[in-house]
């Protein structure tokens, strides 16, 4: 297996290659405004570091968010197009699951909460019993509105760091953003065990901002 993992749902543009037993190369850069520019060069660097080329990839996994949409779509459309060009399967995994997995690798035991920045003073979040077991659907909320549901639980991710009043316990040394290495390890483990991965569909969680215009405005002066 040569698994290519990408995720652009958090400020990190992150790419990794996994050979079925370990991550063999990874490239991550944090720049929330340049996902479109940074992703392809990061893929190229990662392949070079591993001494291979894209044609050798046998599976692709992409973080499906939730995340700010414009950046999120860069990873999803890149993964889908690679898959079509190479004729290899493209899988999706919830971005929060990747961060939870990385938290587990960093030594956090459950239960805990993962929260990322959803902008507009909201967080994307989910609860985990342990690093591999998510127990709530990913959601988007104002931090204050979920204070009761996350009270007493340690929390990881940039969303938790942003709102210390709600996420009081953020253990040190935990991941802030997504790492494609963690996403790849999680996905490779599932694939090796024969588990089915979700399709690469975006988790937007919000409707598009679009208002049906109010009735036509009269221009004749009163």
């Amino acid at each position: 297996m040569l698994l290519l993992a990408l995720d652009t749902a958090t400020p990190a543009v992150t790419v990794a290659l996994h050979d079925g037993s370990a991550v063999i190369a990874e490239s991550s850069e944090v720049d929330a405004r340049r996902h479109g520019e940074l992703l392809l060069p990061a893929v190229h660097r990662t392949l070079k570091e591993a001494g291979t080329e894209l044609g050798a990839v046998t599976e692709i996994v992409v973080g499906t968010g939730p995340g700010p949409y414009t950046g999120l779509r860069v990873g999803l459309v890149t993964a889908a197009t690679f898959g079509a060009a190479l004729g290899v399967p493209v899988h999706g995994l919830c971005t929060l699951d990747g961060i939870a997995y990385a938290a587990g690798e960093a030594g956090l035991e459950g239960p805990f909460v993962v929260a990322t920045d959803a902008r507009r003073k909201e967080v994307y979040w989910a609860r985990y019993d342990d690093a591999r077991t998510r127990v709530t659907e990913p959601a988007v909320d104002h931090p204050a509105d979920l204070a009761e549901r996350v009270a007493g639980l340690p929390a990881v991710g940039a969303g938790a760091l942003l709102y210390p009043a709600v996420f009081a316990d953020v253990p040190p040394g935990m991941p802030e953003y997504q790492s494609a290495g963690a996403l790849a390890s999680l996905a490779a483990g599932k694939l090796v065990r024969g588990e089915e991965l979700p399709p690469p569909r975006p988790l937007y969680l919000r409707r598009p901002d679009a208002k049906v215009p109010a009735n036509y405005k009269v221009v004749t002066p009163k």
Binding site: L54, T78, L86, P208
Partner: protein, 378 residues
């Protein structure tokens, strides 16, 4: 000819996901997935709705185009994509897809200008573009007069709208008349039953001291709305066909008058009209008559090639390949305000191959055209 460049083009600047394939000046496929129905109830294109639809439609539309063209992806000589101008989030989906596709296939990537693509598409209909060509681009997003001595390297803006685009004016008047969205096709149809001289609506920016090649449709829009409101206030029935015809006449009169004048002033013998409004039957008829009177050859592609599509991007990409223009870099940006003077976005670092880009051409011809302005062709 088999040695003409085979190029796939991707267009996602607004609400159409377009993928076209051309060989030189020959159209092989023009696949379009439109999200227009999803925008109709909002009375205009909603950027986030468009971007979501582009993501869904991207791969299926590429595959449909390849099937339609009957070519293998491995035979392509390059991948072209609209790098701008357009809706930022929408452009980014196409640019990301084009990069991934080009990289996976080991082909050069050409980020090209949407407006230059609207002009270049005419090569698929009427053969090589005369140099220079004057272009009138009119759609819901643009109203521009452009002079193109070389569509791959030298496109000069002569004028553009200072407020609404021509297509926007159609949409707004259709809304005042409760005719739905988009407004262009329905007004065109209803106007055929009306009298274009029934109401004398104003012609914007046509005074002796106004900018000769700029357009303004905002005053016209307000004048039409007031006229309709006055009728309604008086309890009279609004003559929808006459209003449509007279409004359309005002738009088309200004567009064609200024385009023909620009050709005469610049000594250009060929006028092409592109963009969605080029499908308007009255615009076509009036442009034909006025061009004939002025001894100008008019070129208007068929309506499907005038609206946003991938074939136009492929057409410009093929011209870039044919003329040996440099490919774009893998960190190409989607640029919502890409200037019309940049027909494409070459790799600024085209000599270095460190980024692994498969350069197939040198860039030594990129800047051969001097930008000396006046009377080049007079």
């Amino acid at each position: 000819m088999a040695d003409e460049p085979l190029v796939l083009g991707i267009e996602t600047s607004c609400d159409e996901t377009g993928v076209g394939i051309v060989r030189g000046h020959t159209l092989l496929a023009d696949a379009v997935a439109s999200s227009v129905d999803e925008h109709a109830r909002f009375g205009g294109v909603v950027p986030e709705v468009a971007s979501r639809a582009h993501l869904e439609a991207m791969v299926p539309t590429i595959q449909r185009a390849l099937k339609e063209a009957g070519v293998a992806a491995s035979d392509l000589d390059g991948i072209a994509v609209t790098a701008g101008p357009g809706l930022a989030g929408a452009l980014l989906v196409g640019v990301s897809a084009a990069k991934a596709y080009a990289y996976a296939l080991g082909k050069p990537l050409y980020g090209v200008n949407h407006l230059a693509s609207h002009i270049c598409v005419d090569q698929l209909e009427h053969g090589p573009l005369p140099e220079p060509t004057m272009a009138l681009l009119v759609s819901g997003g643009h109203s521009s007069l452009l002079l193109a001595p070389d569509i791959t390297a030298d496109v000069r803006p002569l004028g553009s709208t200072i407020d609404d685009a021509a297509g926007e004016a159609f949409d707004k008047i259709a809304r005042v008349l409760n005719l739905g969205f988009p407004g262009g096709p329905v007004i065109d149809r209803i106007a055929r039953e009306g009298n274009p001289d029934a109401i004398a609506f104003p012609r914007g920016l046509t005074g002796p001291r106004d900018a000769a090649y700029d357009f303004s449709f905002s005053g016209l829009k307000t004048a039409v709305a007031r006229w309709i409101e006055a009728k309604r206030a008086a309890g009279e029935e609004v003559p929808v066909a006459d209003v449509s015809a007279s409004f359309q006449e005002a738009v088309v009169d200004v567009l064609t008058r200024k385009a023909v004048r620009a050709c005469k002033d610049e000594g250009v013998e060929h006028l092409m009209i592109g963009g969605g409004v080029a499908a308007n039957s009255r615009l076509r008829a009036m442009a034909e008559r006025r061009c004939e009177d002025a001894g100008i050859t008019l070129r208007v592609p068929r309506p499907k090639l005038c609206t946003d599509n991938g074939a136009m991007v492929a057409a410009l990409g093929a011209e870039m390949v044919a003329r040996g223009r440099s490919a774009s870099a893998w960190d190409l940006s989607a640029d919502s305000s890409l200037p019309v003077t940049d027909p494409h976005v070459p790799d600024p670092d085209a000599d270095g191959d460190a980024d692994g880009h498969p350069h197939s051409h040198t860039h030594s011809h990129d800047h051969v055209h001097e930008l000396s302005r006046k009377n080049l062709y007079a």
